[in-house]
Symmetry: C2
DNA sequence: CTGAAAGCGCTTACAG
DNA sequence: CTGAAAGCGCTTACAG
């Protein structure tokens, strides 16, 4: 005869079982979507769940199930817009299961060893890596050797021993360039991203491809190197505007650099987009806070993070049950978001 | 004789108890820092914990303790920099305890009722509210009536039935203005924040106070209204620069508007800070991504969120144990960060 | 396809 | 100040 230790009791499996006229086991099976339940039984249970407003107790599930999944989000310093999207995506997925999220910061000069130690100190089972960390082979190796599961987000070089969630960067960059071509631009500048991220090369390749397909020349004076920071976009845009004749459009490899290009254009007395079109990449918050708002490639960062977290959680579970882990590489859709800047 | 269901067993209270020669209960007491344990006993236990590398299982604690603390971060749309700081602060604190974090978005026109329903659907026990939601009396009332605990972050109007974590906004704004005065500025423009946030008025008051203290006139033409968005900063800065004579410094009520002011200054061909000094407020990521980097008031958003989460967790626990909840209002320190913009 | 029993690792409520 | 017992709400492993 159980005594009540808590004030406001929530319904439990036992309550649901009683109401549905089945055992607790069966309730558990329905909740966990096991296929072996007769649909008649399933329905009785589901209606009992609905009428009681039953919600499984995650702590009990974790304890009984012997799971305990901690996933770490390891970031160096993506823009805060990127980071908050990553966080929101992870949290949504993590809350649905009974996992825990920890966030770790990786300094430029933190060694792979140190990072792995930090992860282990926090008892992480798996690690979600956004760029540029997802492209650091040494770090990936070290984490893998430590027995942690890995999910690479937005990498161009998915590893055979890691999950990966990407978009088709080359296609996206090609589409964006084609959009500018379709608007009549023939001198289209390009600001490249940091070469330590594999996606950078893909974006440039897409740009070059589109020009080639359109029969336009690829002019090296119209290609400037940036490193994804606003600051680098400033310098790169200056260089591009110094070209003679100057470009009538600039496609930057991310929104921060595109925003910087807008600023430089304004300082040169140019109207955007009347005098020059400027497009970005990512569709982070800055794309809609600057004026004019940026035409950009929407990369579904939040969804990508959610998917990555989901893969990791399932992977940890499989690992736990000593089942083989299948490292899937998932590709999500991008979108061209046309706004006022070009 | 327990059979092993898991592969890699971590040490449990039983293991620690055995090694320390005490009961599991005593281990639990030590872990929970109960004062009633003899220090000799405590030390034996602690050394056993250390040698085994014991870490309590949060799921088991939550289950046995009958707790189950869910805290919701309810945001409308602070800048993503602000949001990611909030998230990081919450996560740090939440992970330390066995709470869960859910993030909810509140649209402009979501009614207080709907929001409360959403919170209840997610079984939130407590809500952390950043501006401007923390200043919405109707929403606060409704949440309170629903029996959820509230923590207001960065409000100027802490409620008697809510936790609050703030900085001294008026003092901070006064200090920043004094800094500009000390640099010899006599015509200092001000860009105000959205009047739906109580902190906005405090910042303006600090600005006016500093001018008064310095014997400088308060010129209404040098005060422009913004709403904390980059866009509004653009317009406000234009207005200020139209004043004759124009200001030699502008103090904006947040970094986004300060960054916008920098952009407008540049468009007017003005050098920052040679021709005009520009200062911000918050010290979010944009302060160091724009060029020149912004002199600003550092508001420790992450720490504020962490503290708020901590108060909420303790509050939920107290509530659970039917102990009285004491609504503390905590004030953290701000800092003037002098950089290149002014 | 469904169920009775045992156990996950901790804490509560009692004793002493 | 410390401990033996029971229980938190669920799932595993085994039967049938």
């Amino acid at each position: 005869v159980a005594r009540t230790r808590k004030g406001l009791q929530r319904p439990t499996v036992a309550d649901v079982a009683r109401l549905a006229g089945v055992s607790a086991m069966t309730v558990s099976r329905v909740v966990n979507r096991e296929p072996s339940v007769l649909s008649a039984t399933r329905e009785k249970v589901q209606s009992a769940i609905a009428t009681l407003g039953y919600e499984p107790n995650q702590a009990a599930r974790a304890l009984a199930g012997g799971r305990d999944c901690r996933i770490a989000l390891l970031h160096s310093n993506p823009s805060s817009a990127y980071l908050s999207e990553l966080l929101m995506g992870c949290l949504a997925e993590i809350n649905a299961s009974d996992a825990q999220l920890t966030v770790e910061y990786a300094d430029e000069d933190t060694s792979a060893r140190e990072l792995v130690h930090k992860l282990q100190a926090h008892r992480a089972d798996a690690v979600l890596l956004p760029p540029p960390l997802c492209d650091n082979p040494e770090l990936l190796q070290e984490i893998h050797r430590a027995g942690l599961l890995i999910a690479q987000v937005a990498t161009a070089r998915p590893l055979p021993f890691a999950f990966a969630v990407t978009i088709a960067d080359e296609d996206a960059a090609r589409s964006m360039t084609e959009h500018l071509v379709a608007r009549g631009h023939e001198r289209i500048g390009f600001i490249g991203g940091n070469s330590n991220q594999t996606a950078s090369a893909l974006r440039e390749r897409g740009y070059r491809l589109a020009l080639g397909n359109a029969g336009l020349p690829v002019t090296e004076a119209l290609i400037a190197q940036g490193d994804f920071t606003y600051r680098s976009g400033l310098a790169a845009a200056e260089r591009l505007l110094a070209a003679n004749p100057r470009p009538t459009a600039i496609f930057a490899s991310n929104d921060d650099m595109a925003a910087a290009a807008v600023m430089i254009a304004h300082r040169h007395g140019l109207d955007v987009p009347a005098d020059i079109s400027i497009c970005g990449y990512d569709d982070t918050a800055i794309a809609t806070t600057v004026w004019p708002e940026l035409t950009t490639v929407r990369q579904p960062i939040r969804e990508m993070a959610a998917r990555a977290a989901q893969l990791l959680i399932a992977g940890v579970d499989a690992h736990h049950r000593e089942r083989p882990v299948e490292f899937r590489h998932v590709r999500l859709d991008y979108e061209i978001r046309v706004r006022d800047s070009g």
